[in-house]
């Protein structure tokens, strides 16, 4: 199994989520994060002075899926999270050793 962790734009969450659902990937965990990358921060202003907020709000979507489905999920995310401008975010893939469903005690494949 793999964990797919995608850092995407907040404005794309709805679309990505819907697309994943349509493709049968209903389960996921979402976290509000802030990030920095190629994208420079936004210039804000307070009491007439400008300042740079270099951490931009992003959303982290995590899905744990069987190895064979990894590419399908990546593709969906790529397609729906993309705007083409800097700041679209990244997808990281991690190995997962084991999964347990708390409710039933099922493990691994059965737990997904």
């Amino acid at each position: 199994m793999r964990k797919i962790e995608a850092i995407i734009r907040p404005t794309k969450v709805q679309e990505v989520k819907d697309a994943l659902e349509d493709a049968g990937f209903e389960s996921m965990t979402i976290t509000e994060v802030k990030g920095r990358g190629k994208q420079k921060g936004v210039l804000q202003q307070w009491r007439g002075q400008k300042y740079c907020v270099d951490l931009l709000p992003k959303v982290k979507i995590e899905l744990v899926v069987p190895v064979e489905k990894t590419d399908a999920v990546i593709e969906i995310i790529m397609k729906h999270a993309k705007t083409g401008s800097i700041g679209d975010g990244k997808i990281f893939i991690y190995p997962v050793e084991k999964i347990i469903r708390i409710r039933t005690g099922e493990t691994d494949g059965d737990a997904l």
Partner: protein, 469 residues
């Protein structure tokens, strides 16, 4: 000389309490040898002073309504546009006070031209001292109309375009209709229309002058600016929850408090013996409006809805604004209950049938309930000289339908139609022009990011972690 000089200095000091003490002493001691004429003069002065205090304090309470409007509007909209809405409301009253001083008052209460418009007293020129109290009370009303529009068009309207519209609302749209109804020389209280029907239009504290004008101007604005991105998906309305019910409720209660000034002050006389009834009617309608919406939403969805219930109280208040000085208390309850129905149906009608996006329900609350208020005069008014309003100076002249009169109802319908036509068409034109000249709506990108960052460079709650849509 020394003493004289001291006295003079004393008078110079703004808050001379010793002097005040002396004056109070003197007032308490019997004043010798007053003639009846002197007494009558003194009494008249006191009566005037009472009216001044009443209007100043009622005006102050109405002023605070701008805080109430701000809170209701931001409470029912999203975090990302909060600063923008705060600024719009704040500048509405800031511009309002200056514009109503420069232009608004003149157009509303200046010398009448053809029953249509006032044409002198610009910059309050020629204002003698006595007029300022009235100006203050009228001014705080004037800025309200624009605020109503601000709520309905929130979350997507350009700040600059809104400010220009506000200047025109306070300087032109509101005072023109106000002239027709409240100047005493306008087409709705004198001239051919009134002569034909035989009775003048009655709008005690502004169900039409303030609320319908605001509400139907908002209708024009909402039509032109279009719904927020994502509000309708495949023709069906999508829920966009507000961000703070505590602020929305605080705002609603501040507005209700403000209505004491709004309706109470509209007696325009601190010696008026009917103020108590005016206030009682006002709050009976308010309570009834809230109760009705509570019950409707409870029955319809199984859960009493908070923001609609708050709207229900405002609807009751808006409706009774025209009729609070003309009806019996039971009628106030009925008017409020019906206002509750109207605001609920109105909100649903706007969303589902007209596909309008009015985040705070301003069109239903101010426009539709305001119209109901105008009609309610024609239905429930007891009529001048009858019963409880035997010697009330300001009650509706004619009896309502329920009491066998029909003229009052007729003239109310005429006024109602005029209010809708005027507010809608002038605002439609203005918004159209603004759209052509500078764009009425912010760019899509700004709307998605939120107007706070884009228009003002800062979010409303910079330290809180927010859930992204």
């Amino acid at each position: 000389m020394e003493t004289m000089c001291k006295m003079k200095n004393l008078r110079n000091s703004g808050q001379n309490l010793l002097l005040l003490g002396i004056i109070l002493m003197m007032l308490i001691l019997p004043v010798s040898a007053a003639t009846p004429e002197e007494n009558a003069k003194a009494i008249a002065d006191v009566q005037t002073a009472l009216t001044v205090l009443w209007l100043i304090l009622c005006g102050a309470i109405v002023f605070l309504m701008h805080a109430g409007f701000s809170l209701v509007e931001i409470g029912l909209t999203r975090v990302k546009n909060t600063t923008n809405i705060l600024m719009k409301n704040f500048m509405t009253i800031s511009l309002g006070v200056v514009v109503y001083w420069a232009v608004g008052w003149a157009i509303m209460y200046g010398a009448d031209y053809a029953g249509i418009i006032g044409i002198d007293q610009f910059f309050m020129s020629g204002a003698d001292n006595a007029i300022w109290t009235s100006w203050w009370f009228q001014m705080v009303f004037a800025a309200t109309g624009a605020t109503i529009v601000s709520g309905a068009m929130a979350e997507r309207t350009s700040f600059k375009a809104y400010l220009i519209y506000t200047v025109l609302m306070v300087g032109l749209i509101y005072p023109v209709f106000g002239h027709w109804v409240w100047s005493g020389a306008g087409i709705l209280t004198s001239g051919p229309i009134v002569d034909a029907i035989g009775i003048g239009y009655h709008d005690f504290a502004g169900s039409s002058v303030v609320h319908m004008i605001g509400g139907f101007s908002a209708l024009a604005g909402v039509l032109l600016v279009g719904p927020r991105i994502g509000k309708f998906r495949r023709g069906k309305p999508v829920v966009i929850p507000g961000h703070s019910l505590p602020l929305a409720f605080l705002g609603t209660l501040i507005l209700a408090f403000g209505w004491v000034g709004f309706n109470g002050g509209s007696t325009l006389d601190g010696n008026d013996p009917y103020i108590g009834l005016v206030i009682a009617n006002t709050f009976l309608a308010a309570g009834a409006g809230a109760i009705m919406v509570l019950l409707i939403t409870w029955m319809k969805t199984g859960k009493p809805d908070p923001s609609l219930t708050a709207n229900g109280m405002l609807a009751g208040l808006v409706a009774i604004t025209a009729s609070c000085g003309s009806v019996a208390s039971w009628a106030a309850v009925v008017i409020g209950l019906i206002a509750g129905i109207i605001v609920y149906v109105g909100v649903m009608f706007n969303e589902y049938t007209l596909k309008l996006d009015d985040p705070v329900g301003a069109i239903a609350v101010h426009g539709y309930s305001g119209a109901w208020g105008i009609l309610s005069v024609g239905i429930f008014a007891i009529g001048q000289g009858n019963g409880i309003f035997a010697d009330a100076a300001y009650t509706a002249a004619g009896a309502g339908l329920l009491y066998g009169g029909y003229q009052q109802f007729m003239v109310q319908v005429v006024g109602l139609i005029l209010a809708i036509i005027w507010a809608f068409s002038i605002s439609f034109i203005i918004f159209k022009v603004l759209d052509a000249v500078m764009g009425l709506r912010v760019p899509e990108e700004d709307e998605i990011a939120g107007l706070d960052i884009k228009e003002h460079g800062i979010s409303a709650y910079p330290e809180f972690v927010l859930a992204k849509e």
